[in-house]
């Protein structure tokens, strides 16, 4: 379990990191928390010959509210998300999700940027970012550009990020005050990836659903934003009949593979159950 040899770089700024990445092309990889990449390197499934460590780039670790938008630096760890008072108030689903990821030691190292950028369909944050309609800021040799989470994921480990770009921050439109939220994750044990998981964020006003978003984790090659599930809830009191429609839409959108977590029929069914639970829990939390 010894990784292949590589040269280690520790740039002090994002621009310096982009320059190194441009110089080394396919041979270079950026490492953030390292808890996806280093295990892959130990298995020699990843063999970068230049490792560019973002550990010394200080300005990537903020969580701040900029007007109606929450900005989270890419190097913010899962532990930081859990500990953030700002997020506990403005966007508590992130804490709920982070607590389902891996285990305490891994959460001290694993970053939100790595979780959304590496394109592993098992990662939990991508679907949540789609649910929240977040955008990712990418910096490359030609400057910055923004890509929405809903347009970012192309296939397993393939995203809209080019090889010479670095994901530097995540922007989340702050959900309305009093919104309801839930992340339901079915997993075999602590630390495992989901058999199926669902993120739901919704807003109620006078007993009627004003807006709603639903997204799924690990039941396809990418996270799945199920637009039809969200729209089926809007304008309704979110009663059982409507929830059943949203669940049906989510199950129809799920495309799980059969693996050691179960056959595809089971995992699609589990996705439906997670959506059902997540909508009900989000509804119970919503004010209005």
């Amino acid at each position: 379990m010894i990784p292949g040899a590589f040269e280690y770089h520790r740039p002090g700024s994002v621009d310096e990191a982009v320059t190194l990445l441009t110089q080394h092309g396919d041979e270079g990889r950026v490492v953030a928390g390292g808890h996806s990449l280093i295990p892959m390197m130990k298995l020699r499934l990843a063999v970068p010959t230049h490792l560019i460590d973002l550990g010394s780039v200080a300005d990537l670790k903020d969580i701040k509210a900029v007007g109606p938008v929450i900005e989270i630096g890419a190097m913010t760890t899962q532990h930081d998300l859990i500990a953030s008072d700002l997020l506990a108030g403005a966007c508590p689903i992130l804490r709920e999700v982070a607590l389902t990821i891996a285990d305490p030691q891994v959460r001290y190292c694993g970053t939100v940027g790595g979780n959304v950028a590496n394109g592993d369909p098992g990662n939990d944050m991508p679907a949540v970012m789609q649910c929240l309609d977040a955008s990712f800021l990418l910096r490359g040799p030609k400057g910055d550009r923004q890509v929405t989470a809903r347009a970012f994921y192309e296939a397993a480990y393939f995203t809209a990020r080019a090889d010479d770009e670095i994901l530097t921050s995540i922007s989340i439109p702050a959900p309305a005050t009093g919104h309801g939220y839930a992340y339901e994750k079915l997993k075999r044990k602590v630390g495992d990836y989901a058999i199926a998981a669902a993120a739901v964020v919704l807003t109620m006003e006078g007993g009627t659903c004003k807006n709603a978003a639903v997204a799924l984790t690990n039941v396809g090659d990418t996270p799945i934003y199920v637009e039809a599930a969200g729209t089926s809830l809007v304008g309704t009191p979110v009663d059982d009949g409507v929830i059943a429609k949203a669940v049906a839409a989510a199950k129809a959108a799920a495309q799980p593979a059969a693996d050691m977590r179960g056959p595809k029929e089971y995992r699609a069914h589990a996705a439906g159950v997670m959506v059902d639970r997540a909508i009900k829990r989000a509804l119970a939390r919503a004010k209005g």
Partner: protein, 164 residues
């Protein structure tokens, strides 16, 4: 691949060694520094036997390169005893509550519990169980491990109250 000089503080001592970039921290601690308290278990960041405290975080030292720990402040189980050499509250707890059978997971358990108690000095049983969720004990001795952590919490809280 050339070795580079790596400096860090381990158990309060400034140390310096040479490491190839691909050398994992667990191997640097064990092979370069002779600190064999942190154990090599699963090597896949699941079992937690290699857990050490790094700049106030519990980390699995099998999933960190030594070069990444440049300048870090690290504590291993070797640094856990009190200044006079007596056992720390956690070590005493593992002894008193029979918190180990084979002992392989124990250094990782103690280092993880150490950080847990720094962050939450009075954890419930559920909080202890979730707090050590990244550490596996294959003797399945969790019941007594949880008791050992609780023993240490009670002892440390008692000492804190007596001091006030």
């Amino acid at each position: 691949m050339n070795k580079t000089a790596v400096k860090m503080t381990v158990n309060g001592q400034a140390v310096e060694g040479k490491a190839e970039p691909r050398l994992l921290l667990i191997h640097f601690l064990r092979d370069e520094l002779g600190l064999t308290g942190p154990h090599v278990g699963c090597e896949t960041s699941h079992c937690g036997a290699c857990t050490v405290d790094l700049d106030g975080k519990s980390v699995k030292s099998c999933t960190v390169f030594a070069v990444q720990a440049e300048g870090a402040n690290i504590t291993t189980v070797e640094g856990m005893a009190n200044a006079d050499g007596s056992l720390s509250a956690l070590q005493e707890g593992f002894m008193q509550e029979h918190g180990l059978q084979c002992g392989y997971c124990t250094p990782g358990m103690i280092m993880r519990a150490h950080r847990l108690l720094q962050e939450n000095p009075n954890p419930s049983e559920a909080e202890i169980r979730m707090g050590i969720a990244g550490n596996l004990c294959r003797c399945t001795g969790y019941q007594n491990i949880v008791k050992a952590v609780r023993y240490a919490a009670d002892k440390l809280n008692g000492q804190r109250e007596a001091a006030e």
